[in-house]
Structures are given as structure tokens and as C-alpha cells.
């Protein structure tokens, strides 16, 4: 099943300003298993618009999106229950902490499943399951979500989406506003979730280090066009990075610098800091 974009364009209409086209003619397929996709691009490149197409929050103005077998096009079909699609594709918004509103964490997590007509007992189980999945323990379930720290709120709201048990999890800049350690923890968490549950995870991010370390596939948007679809290894070997307003990950940058400065024969394409250190040691010990 998965999500299939077929020549999708989206234009925002405005009364005062001129109309604004967010994405152009995008064709791509996302499977509902095993993928860890990073969606990258400069600010205003259409990432969020593309992500909102993935669960029919936004309708294409041209082309079609097929979500879990349901065709979504410009025209809203009265017979189709678009709400149902949101169970298949869970979308976590940027600053998801703004969606919390219940008096306990448990109730807030149960809110999603209950909307999809899951029985309260099952929803309760799901809440317990997903709060563990995001790395918090069950003591949080009875706490007030508004008394949590920023990072904890983020985790709780992600648990709220996970409890709906979507096949594909889309996250819009989930790591923004967190410290570097928190970012890494959260990314590891998503990787964990993906490996444990076999779901596909799509993440919008600006952090190239995380992209290089975690993604199995990257999508690059530039001015609303899909300019790259492939592995991060391929991506960071491309010449056009600068024209897409992307930078290299830290590891590659440092290793490339060392290579040029000291004419070392090392392979700069190392995903993590540890691997980079090992590569340097290998070369220098010779």
C-alpha cells in the first residue's frame, strides 16, 4: 500500500498577496515498511506542504496522492472518509506540544485511538505501550501534561500519535528546540521505533549529521521541486549540494579538511564521530 505521489503540485491561494506555489510536479513512492526517510531542504522549500499531503490534511491542486489505496485528488469526494487515512499515516507536527489538552498524559495519548473507535481498554493498553516506546515510564501516565518539561511534552505528543498505530509515521522537524543530546536521543528513539515495529518513518530535519547517521533514504526539496531521491551516501557525494542550500555533515567536513590539509589518504565518508575517529587513528597509526 504505502503512499504514492503522482505529479502532485500544490498552490496556496491568497486574497491579498499573489498566489504561492509550494510544490511542483512531485512523483514519489513511500512504502509502509522498513524505510527511514529524511526529507530535507531549505526553509520554504515545501517540506511541510509535502508532509501534509501524506495524510490528506492538504489536498493537491494538481495530480493525485494515493494513501493506503485511497485516491486523494483536487476534488474532495464526499463519500470518502479522509479521516480514516490519518490512522494509516500519523503526522506529528512541528512543536507537537501545542496539541496537548487533556488533564492527564494517559487521557491525551488515548485521545487519538478513541477517535478511531478503539475500545477504551485497548486504548489504555496502547497508551502504556507507546509511553514506553518513547522512553518514558508508566509513572508519567497520571501526570498533568502541562507540568512536563519541553522534551517530555514532545515525547508524550509523539506517543499520542504512536498509540494510533499508524503504518507510516511522519514527523515535521521533531528535533527543533532541543539540545544536541536531546536531538540524538530522539533520533535514536525513532530508529528504535522503526526497527521494533517495522513502520516507515519520515522525518523532516535540517540536521545533516542526523540525516547521514540515520536515514536509509533521503528526499531533497529545493524551491518546491524534488531534486534528489536516494541514499544519504549518494547525496553527500553530489556536487549540487550547495545549489540545494545543503551542507555536509560534520564528520565529512572535518575529514575532508584533514585530508586536504595533511594530504592523508583517508575516506572522509564516515557516518558517526566514532567511525571518523577510528578512520583517523587507522591512517595516523600507519
Amino acid at each position: 500500500m504505502g503512499i504514492h505521489f503522482r505529479q502532485v503540485s500544490h498552490q496556496y491561494f491568497s486574497q491579498q498577496n499573489s498566489d504561492y506555489q509550494a510544490i511542483y510536479d512531485i512523483t514519489l513512492s513511500i512504502e509502509d515498511q522498513h524505510e527511514f526517510i529524511c526529507l530535507i531542504g531549505h526553509t520554504g522549500s515545501g517540506k511541510s506542504t509535502l508532509a501534509q499531503h501524506m495524510n490528506a490534511l492538504v489536498f493537491p491542486t494538481k495530480g493525485t496522492v494515493e494513501i493506503a489505496g485511497v485516491l486523494v485528488s483536487q476534488k474532495r469526494d464526499k463519500k470518502t472518509d479522509y479521516n480514516r487515512l490519518r490512522k494509516h499515516v500519523g503526522l506529528v507536527f512541528q512543536f507537537p506540544e501545542y496539541q496537548l489538552f487533556e488533564e492527564t498524559v494517559e487521557k491525551d495519548i488515548m485521545f487519538g485511538p478513541l477517535n478511531f473507535k478503539v475500545s477504551p481498554e485497548v486504548a489504555k493498553e496502547k497508551a502504556l505501550e507507546s509511553i514506553r516506546l518513547v522512553g518514558l515510564n508508566e509513572s508519567y501516565l497520571n501526570r498533568n501534561p502541562f507540568n512536563l518539561s519541553g522534551g517530555e511534552k514532545k515525547r508524550v505528543s509523539i506517543a499520542g500519535i504512536l498509540a494510533m498505530d499508524p503504518e507510516i509515521l511522519v514527523l515535521d522537524e521533531p528535533t527543533s528546540g532541543l539540545d544536541p543530546q536531546g536531538k540524538r536521543q530522539l533520533m535514536r528513539l525513532f530508529k528504535d521505533i522503526q526497527e521494533k515495529t517495522n513502520k516507515t518513518v519520515v522525518i523532516i530535519t535540517h540536521d545533516m549529521d542526523l540525516v547521514y547517521e540515520y536515514a536509509t533514504r533521503t528526499l531533497v526539496l529545493s524551491d518546491g521541486n524534488l531534486v534528489f531521491d536516494g541514499t544519504p551516501d549518494d547525496l553527500f557525494r553530489r556536487e549540487e549540494l550547495a545549489t540545494w542550500s545543503l551542507s555536509l555533515p560534520q564528520t565529512i567536513r572535518v575529514l575532508k579538511g584533514l585530508k586536504e590539509q595533511f594530504h592523508l589518504e583517508l575516506n572522509p565518508y564516515q557516518k558517526t564521530v566514532e567511525e571518523a575517529v577510528r578512520e583517523i587513528e587507522k591512517v595516523t597509526s600507519r
Binding site: 491579498q16 507536527f93 507537537p96 496539541q99 500519535i161
Partner: protein, 282 residues
């Protein structure tokens, strides 16, 4: 939902846009008074309404407001028109009977009364639209502040009120954006804002309002801190970036508006009847 922009400021550079906001506010009130004045007889009333409408239509053309936006705004009036008509027919009336349904008499008076109210409403909405779409909300609050200045003598917090209004106006679009964002976030969690039973609808609205309030409070706290950090003192004396300047066109417009109102008052007071005058000519 995205069409709440009706009557919003549209940045053109027309004659009316350039007029002083104080004059525009004054003009609005004066013309509204004019709309509510009653004349000798029915045809005379309609003639004057027609003249005022032509005037407002000209103002709309000058300030480049599309008539379409006005009609869009009037759509909601239909309910009110039927409601008014029903009320007016129920209230005891006298005069000529227009027609009767069974033993129920509908008088011409009732129909005319309803028509008057509807026409007045339409004219007022059009006028207000001319004002709000040609004047920046901030300029409008400056104008209000200027008119409130005399009350400063009795320690009325003029500046504070103007500041509160301008901040409230400033945050309307921000809060609207926020609302859309939260709606989308909750829709992702399976909330159906469009259909569903009443109890589901109530829950949907709660899931929208609670986060909206929380973020609004947060925002206001941040704004207050930011203002204090920049040394804001409500009782301090301050200058303005955009200074309101009274120019010659403003004086001309003022004379025109006041002249128009006096003309209307004179017509009403002297019980002038155009229909009779024209009839006497032939």
C-alpha cells in the same frame, strides 16, 4: 474558513487610503448618522438611500474594493431579513394593507420598515468596509487614542486602552494561524471538525480551544516580558514612527462630509419632498 479576511486592510495607495485616519473615523460616524435620518415620505427615503449608496459605491471604487467582497459579507444577512420581516408583521401595525394571508394582514408599513433596516444595514456594512480596508488597524487605534485625549484630564488611561486595542488587533491573524495549525494537528489525531455527533463536536472544539488558550497566554506573557525588556512604560511619553498629518485633502473631505450631513438634516427638517417638487414642475 480561510475567508475571514473580509474587510481586512488592503494596501493600495488611493485617495481614501491617504486620508487621515481621524477624518475617516469621524466621516464614518457622520455618514452613519446620515443613514439613520428619516424623511417626509417613503419615496423620499428611498431616493436619499439611493444617493448615499451611489456615494458609497464611488468611495468603494476609489479605494478599489471589489463589490464581490461586499456581497460575500452580505450573504449572512438573509436570515436577519426574514427574521425582521416576521417581527415587523407580528408587531401591531396600521395603514394600508399590502396583502393578507387568511386573517393575517401584512401592512405596507411593515414591509417598508424591514426594507429600511436592511438598506441601512447594507449601507453601514459597506461604509465600515471602506474604513477598515483603507485604514491600517494601527492607524485606526491612533485615531481612537486621539479622540480619547480630552478624557486624559479625568485620568482616563487613553494610551493604555489604545495599546491594548492595537495589540489585540495585531494578534488576530497570529491567533488565526495558530488555530489552523492546531486544527491540523488534532485532525491528524483523528478529530473530525466537519461532521459527527454533537458530543463529538464538543470534544473536537475542546481539543482546539484548550491548546489555543494555553498558547495565547504563553504568547502574552512573552510579549509582556519583551516589552518590559525594551523599557516599555505605559505612563511614559513617546513619539511615533508614523505621525498623523492633517493635509489639505483632509480638510476638503471634512467639509464635504459635514456639508453632506447638514444637507441631509436640512432636507429632513424642511420636509422637502423631491417627488412633489418634480410633480409641481409639470
Amino acid at each position: 474558513m480561510a475567508n475571514i479576511a473580509l474587510g481586512r486592510y488592503v494596501p493600495y495607495n488611493s485617495f481614501i487610503h491617504r486620508l487621515d485616519p481621524r477624518l475617516k473615523l469621524f466621516g464614518l460616524i457622520v455618514l452613519m448618522v446620515g443613514i439613520f435620518i428619516k424623511f417626509v415620505n417613503v419615496p423620499m427615503n428611498f431616493i436619499v438611500y439611493g444617493l448615499i449608496f451611489i456615494l458609497i459605491a464611488m468611495m468603494m471604487m476609489v479605494s478599489r474594493i471589489k463589490f464581490k467582497t461586499l456581497f460575500k459579507q452580505l450573504k449572512a444577512l438573509w436570515i436577519m431579513i426574514t427574521f425582521l420581516l416576521i417581527i415587523n408583521t407580528i408587531v401591531p401595525n396600521s395603514g394600508a394593507i399590502a396583502f393578507s394571508i387568511g386573517s393575517w394582514n401584512i401592512y405596507w408599513n411593515a414591509i417598508f420598515q424591514t426594507l429600511y433596516i436592511v438598506i441601512r444595514l447594507v449601507l453601514m456594512i459597506a461604509l465600515t468596509m471602506v474604513l477598515t480596508s483603507t485604514t491600517r488597524p494601527l492607524d485606526l487605534t491612533y485615531a481612537i487614542e486621539w479622540y480619547l485625549l480630552p478624557f486624559k484630564v479625568i485620568r482616563f488611561p487613553t494610551h493604555e486602552i489604545a495599546m491594548t486595542i492595537s495589540i489585540a488587533l495585531r494578534f488576530i491573524p497570529t491567533l488565526l494561524d495558530e488555530t489552523y495549525r492546531i486544527m491540523k494537528a488534532q485532525a491528524s489525531r483523528g478529530v473530525d471538525f466537519v461532521s459527527g455527533k454533537l458530543s463529538e463536536k464538543v470534544r473536537a472544539i475542546v481539543s482546539l480551544i484548550v491548546p489555543l488558550f494555553i498558547s495565547a497566554f504563553q504568547r502574552s506573557e512573552e510579549l509582556a516580558n519583551a516589552m518590559e525588556a525594551r523599557g516599555y512604560n505605559p505612563s511614559g511619553k513617546r513619539t511615533r514612527y508614523r505621525v498623523m498629518k492633517w493635509r489639505v485633502p483632509d480638510s476638503i473631505a471634512l467639509i464635504f462630509v459635514v456639508g453632506l450631513l447638514s444637507g441631509i438634516i436640512v432636507l429632513a427638517a424642511l420636509k422637502v419632498d423631491f417627488v412633489a417638487i418634480i410633480g409641481n414642475l409639470f
